[in-house]
């Protein structure tokens, strides 16, 4: 369970998160939508402790992320995250990209790590690309590899930050299908996305961010069908 309580976050004098309260239950799929600069990405990087916060607390499975005593490297193994930029490690093959963290962080043997990696890569449909370098692959394939790479650490939670935004329109589908598959398998997920159709179909709840505030949160039917917040109404009108 991810519990976010009154989280504040500023970059210098710019307050990016202005007191966010949110709880994500095991097995839930939460989608986050909102305009550019509303703080969506920042929230995700705070959840896995890549960014410090200025107030409030975030608790993942009972562990407070920003407590001094928390071993962040350990915590992050629980929380997979995939970014808009594919962030493939260009100097490693697909297989090596995926086995690197299990071997170096979890201390798996090469054989063990490869077994896990092949399983996850096959899962996302890249079972035939093991020896290929990422730069030889399409953006969609790179992004699916990034997902497999995160999954190889057997995380309890997955965070997705606009994973389709940097993709050619032709390639968006294959990545969204991968996310759908994960959702159907019961993975707990927070997905920041601009794909409204996807949000509507897959999410248990949808949260709308506006200027650092979570302006509305509701099941998709309700949020899209009867938006209450005036900013959300504007936002939906513009994106439809």
């Amino acid at each position: 369970m991810i519990e976010i309580e009154n989280v504040h976050k500023s970059f210098g004098s710019l307050e990016v998160l202005k007191g966010i309260d949110l709880t994500v239950d095991k097995g839930e799929v939460l989608t986050v939508i909102g305009g550019s600069g509303s703080g969506k990405s920042t929230l995700l990087t705070c959840i896995n402790g890549l960014e410090p916060i200025n107030g409030g607390r975030i608790v993942v499975d009972g562990i407070e992320v920003h407590a001094k005593s928390t071993d962040l490297n350990k915590l992050r193994q629980k929380i997979g995250i995939v970014f808009q930029q594919f962030n493939a490690f260009p100097h490693l093959t697909v297989l090596e990209n995926v086995t690197l963290a299990p071997r170096k962080v979890l201390g798996m043997s090469k054989a063990q790590a490869e077994e896990v990696a092949v399983k996850q890569l096959t899962h996302v449909g890249l079972g035939d690309k093991l020896g290929v370098y990422p730069t030889r692959m399409s953006g969609g394939q790179q992004q699916r590899m990034a997902i497999a790479r995160a999954l190889a650490m057997s995380p309890s939670y997955m965070l997705f930050d606009e994973v389709t935004s940097a993709l050619d329109p032709m390639l968006v589908g294959e990545v969204l299908d991968t996310l759908r598959m994960l959702a159907s398998e019961g993975m707990t997920m927070i997905c920041v996305t601009h794909e409204m159709k996807f949000a509507r179909e897959v999410s248990d709840r949808v949260a709308f961010f506006h200027k650092g505030v979570m302006a509305e949160i509701a099941p998709p039917a309700e949020l899209f069908g009867a938006p209450k917040d005036p900013e959300l109404q504007k936002f939906l009108a513009a994106t439809h």
């Binding site: 193994q77 997979g80 970014f83 260009p90 100097h91 963290a101 790479r149």
Partner: protein, 221 residues
Amino acid sequence: MFGYTFQWKQALARLPQMLDGALVTMQIAILSMVIGIVLAVLLTVFRRSGSRILGAIATTWVEVARNTPALFQIYMAHFGLASFGIHLSPYVSLLVGITFNNAGYLAENFRGALKAIPETQTRAGRSLGMSPLQAFRYIVMPQMLRIAFLPMTNQMVWAVLMTSLGVTVGMNTDLFGVTQALNALTFRTFELFAIAAVIFYLIVKVIQTAARLIAWRLFRY
């Protein structure tokens, strides 16, 4: 035609000695590169560490190495350090001087290369649970070395050429030292140094070819 009789035969008779010198030259160049790379990585880490003292040490090193003549650095390693009671043999003085120079230039190259690697790469590594050091070691450094590979090759060439400065600190076993010693004996300056020039040229070509092969083997992405 020139009013000067070339005596290539005599000079060529010295070829074996000069080739021995070429081996020493190669040895110094390779050693100074290997140690130089290690030091340059350290200096790079120092400069990024955020520590004022480490940063100042690294910056001073890099700037002095890049802004004074290599000959000066080698002379300093021999006669300058001796003023502090540190006595280095000519071989070690030359090695120290060139290594100092290599490390300074390479550290600057590495810094440029690091700028070309997006911060998001480190982030991706960290979010997989890697420590900062692991992220640097497994993700950033390999990419940095690739980007800096061509400058590294050039530095290696310069290291070879810099060995010629060893004569000023009493070095007589490297290619230039051997040639200069033979020159002092026989004064067939032109012939001897022409042969040395050809050997240096060939060494440089071998290095460049080897670098191309290594790059091709290593960087298949």
